[in-house]
Symmetry: D2
């Protein structure tokens, strides 16, 4: 028998939607939604609190904050700034207090456009560690921040190393208090592409984004708190087909559809991704929205 | 009623396939296939010879030569050279004899990866017009070629002008004998992406590629022979779904499927394209394969 | 005898400085200077009014407005906006009244960083011609502007054509009322690099910038008003040496120095340019400052 | 008194030249030259064997192999391959025998063209560590090589970390037997730019290249053998002036010249570099020449 086709999304809130549709409450999962009409930003906080919840949601235990900001997909500097402010607010609450040093990591492959979000965002993060170490905090003037360092580790095909190995080595040498990891994500629905930010205290987990990370990058493996920040930029081509066909065949049993689809989808759509035509420009803008949010969140009040 | 969903391909041979499947011969269309086992290159020549054929094939009257070279999607310098040689051979036959001057045009948007094929290929075309005009042909040594000029006109959103206007202006000033236009195409089947070259004496026609050209760029509109050279780099996201679902529902009437699909597909997949994950690197390699083919074809024996 | 080494600058005001130093007034040249202390922008208007003045200044008859804004070389969004406002003000005065259509041209080679200013600036210019032609002016809402089109013609080594030929062709097809040409310039003094804008109604003249344009692009050759906008991004390596040595040998006759230098400088420094180490980032920022200035100037009050 | 202007070159052979000119032998320094007429490659091996030699040469004790290949500055694929072969031959001799794993590092700032040599070269190095660890050596077929990993650490302004810290961390995690570091260098003479490769077993030392590395990256600091591979892509603007003026004033005392020059040069030329106009394309080609040399050297016979 062919393997079940696995629809994949990195957004916890999308995994929650299938239960909502059926009006099913899952024990161990608390979902809270709010909408800021003025800013047109929809916020969903998913808290997975038990192993049962984790299994049902196919995501590790932890908090997932999702901002949906439809206008983020278009160029509007003022709006992007508002999203950055919103992001900064949530990020601040996830950060440990009395932070002395932060390592910001941009995952992904700079040479694959929809995967370049992390490396591009790193370029605009304000880096201060070398200045503070050389001249002390007062060198930064009134604009005080912790020691901020940054790394673009590259993907395994470029480095031959697990991202985990590189991060463990750099953490051992530089002892940051917390690590922020920026990555491009895969969504399930086209309407989420380029206009959704997910923030989570569970780090980055296998199969996320366009590339693949063999092991989870999280507090368990890196021994310091790990905050993941991601924006979906692609959908697996198979997912598009799966969802269209599922809608069509709602009357069939789910297992029948899956078996049928795994045969239909796998060979030809393998390695294909669905992405908006204007993704090159969009990723550049989004990389600023994220780095600005990080820069704001790290400023000491 | 919602409009019929329009499956779109720039490859004449793909439009031919639907008739082949049903073993239908179309009057006014001659299709000839051959396979070079040693090189693993499959060649399909579609000749559309009448208005009836043009209507059935949804392409203008003319000759369409398609090379399918599966290994072209991977990095193998020797193989790419063989494809360039093959391309050069066909191109030479389409070119007018006793050529004095050629204008090579790279269509598309350099900032959208799958659409950058044309602009990137132009970068490697050997340019000689300014040298011959300044120093005469002997300045080129033994390596004689006609006067070769090149232009990357940009797309309408970048220029505010129809590509047609720009080309008409430049042709009026520089009087080339023939124009070669390189463009990224849209295919229908994932197995054609990045490994198929279409060469045609009908130029480039509306709806081709990732961007849109309002008018056909062909001998009728430009008043000199126009040869189009293209490689499919994307598939419309709607097409992927259409074809998957069609396979599934073979028993339904085509018209039922179409009506159903146009409702299903249009809103969410609009502006989405399906493209291989490694398209950034692939387009760079393919741009060399094409420019090398052109450089070889233009050498005087 | 070896040819005299030719120190080259595209800035009219730099050619003026040698006369100022000696307190010499040149008939046919009027120079007016002002300084805005609050904005820290120094403005020099050089009017060359006679052939004698043109010969002495080594520049065609016309008006040259130079803005020196020292902070423009560093990233400060607010300051760049002020420079754009200043640029827009001067540009507005040079533009013909009741403008219906404008062609903006970005000269230079996109692949040579200090020469990429023109092509990069074009990417941020607001393009409207295709929208107004399709939907009428009201499609732009309250934000009315003339029909704006844009072109990046490339340099002769890339196209085989004179920029002149391309522009003449496009002008013939699209009939703009005025043409704005953006180009990277060569300066004589390092302190002018990246922080000086020259605006002139004489267009762009041979030997300007990093690349070379064989003929002047001006009202005489293009038959419509031509406004040149440039920022110096390089200095010829020979110029640096020339000026350093000249300072050193002030006591020698100029002609002795020149003869000596042409021997010393020419062979080894040919093809070398002096440029700030951070030119890649600087050119990107400056391209925005210019395009914003153009966008503001073209808005109908 | 103003500080002495410090002429800077990363090429040991250039530091040797001042002594050769005066026909001075330095104890502790052995220089051997050879010329391959057929290939037009000039090889200089400088061995610094004592502290005295190191002081005179202003470089650490060790071996410096310099290949001068004038045609390397122009695009000629065949010639570049020959240089790669030559480079591979020398590199093989410097590598420890029975190599199990190699870490290749590309220093420099990818966003500053003349400094991007290292990051660009890394893109073409064959990476095998992850494959061998997952599937064993036999997965590579006949084309056996050691475990090869690679890293682009970025420069301090981008990361906030010393390159040293990052490398120490990654070495601790992945235990390579040897580290190859690729970096863009600064030369003293324009005729060396883009056509000289220096190979040394002393690693990379402070002040090398366009960026700055606070500490030496060498066997002493990294505890494994470190081989530095560099190509000069820039000259300090001050050096150009210094050398031109020195030639001019040969009759003055060196100390007089230096004092005079430090006043003359420092303020205005600070942060300026001299670089060939075609450096963008050249660096891309050279990055292939180096990575090919490395790929050849690492193949097991």
């Amino acid at each position: 028998m062919v393997g079940k086709y696995k629809v994949r999304t990195d957004l916890a809130m999308e995994n929650g939607e299938k239960y909502e549709k059926d009006n099913v409450e899952i024990s161990g999962v608390v979902i809270h939604k709010s909408y800021n009409q003025e800013k047109d930003i929809r916020t969903t906080v998913v808290k997975i609190e038990s192993e049962h919840g984790a299994k049902m949601m196919e995501k590790p235990i932890g908090t997932y904050i999702t901002l949906e900001a439809p206008n983020m997909a278009v160029p509007d500097e003022g709006y992007h700034r508002e999203v950055s402010v919103e992001l900064a607010g949530h990020l601040k609450k996830l950060l440990p207090p009395n932070l002395d040093s932060v390592l910001v990591v941009g995952l992904g492959n700079r040479n694959i456009t929809p995967d370049a979000l992390g490396p591009m965002a790193i370029e605009h993060v304000r880096i201060t560690r070398h200045i503070i170490r050389e001249y002390g905090e007062q060198a930064l003037g009134e604009d005080q921040v912790p020691m901020i360092s940054a790394l673009v580790p590259g993907v395994m095909a470029q480095t031959g190393m697990d991202t985990m190995e590189i991060l463990q080595g750099v953490i051992a040498q530089t002892s940051p208090d917390v690590i922020l990891i920026i990555d491009a994500l895969a969504a399930r629905s086209t309407k989420r592409l380029s206009c959704t930010i997910q923030l989570t205290d569970t780090g980055i987990n296998p199969g996320s984004g366009v590339g693949n990370y063999r092991c989870g990058l999280n507090e368990e493996s890196l021994h310091i708190p790990v905050i993941g920040i991601g924006i979906p930029t692609v959908i697996d081509a198979g997912t598009i087909v799966h969802d269209a066909v599922s809608n069509l065949l709602e009357t069939l049993e789910e297992s029948e559809i899956d078996e049928f689809l795994s045969e239909l989808i796998s060979p030809s759509l393998n390695g294909m991704c669905v992405t908006p035509k204007d993704i090159d420009e969009t990723v550049e803008r989004l990389s600023f929205t994220i780095s600005e949010g990080i820069n704001m969140a790290l400023k000491r009040a």
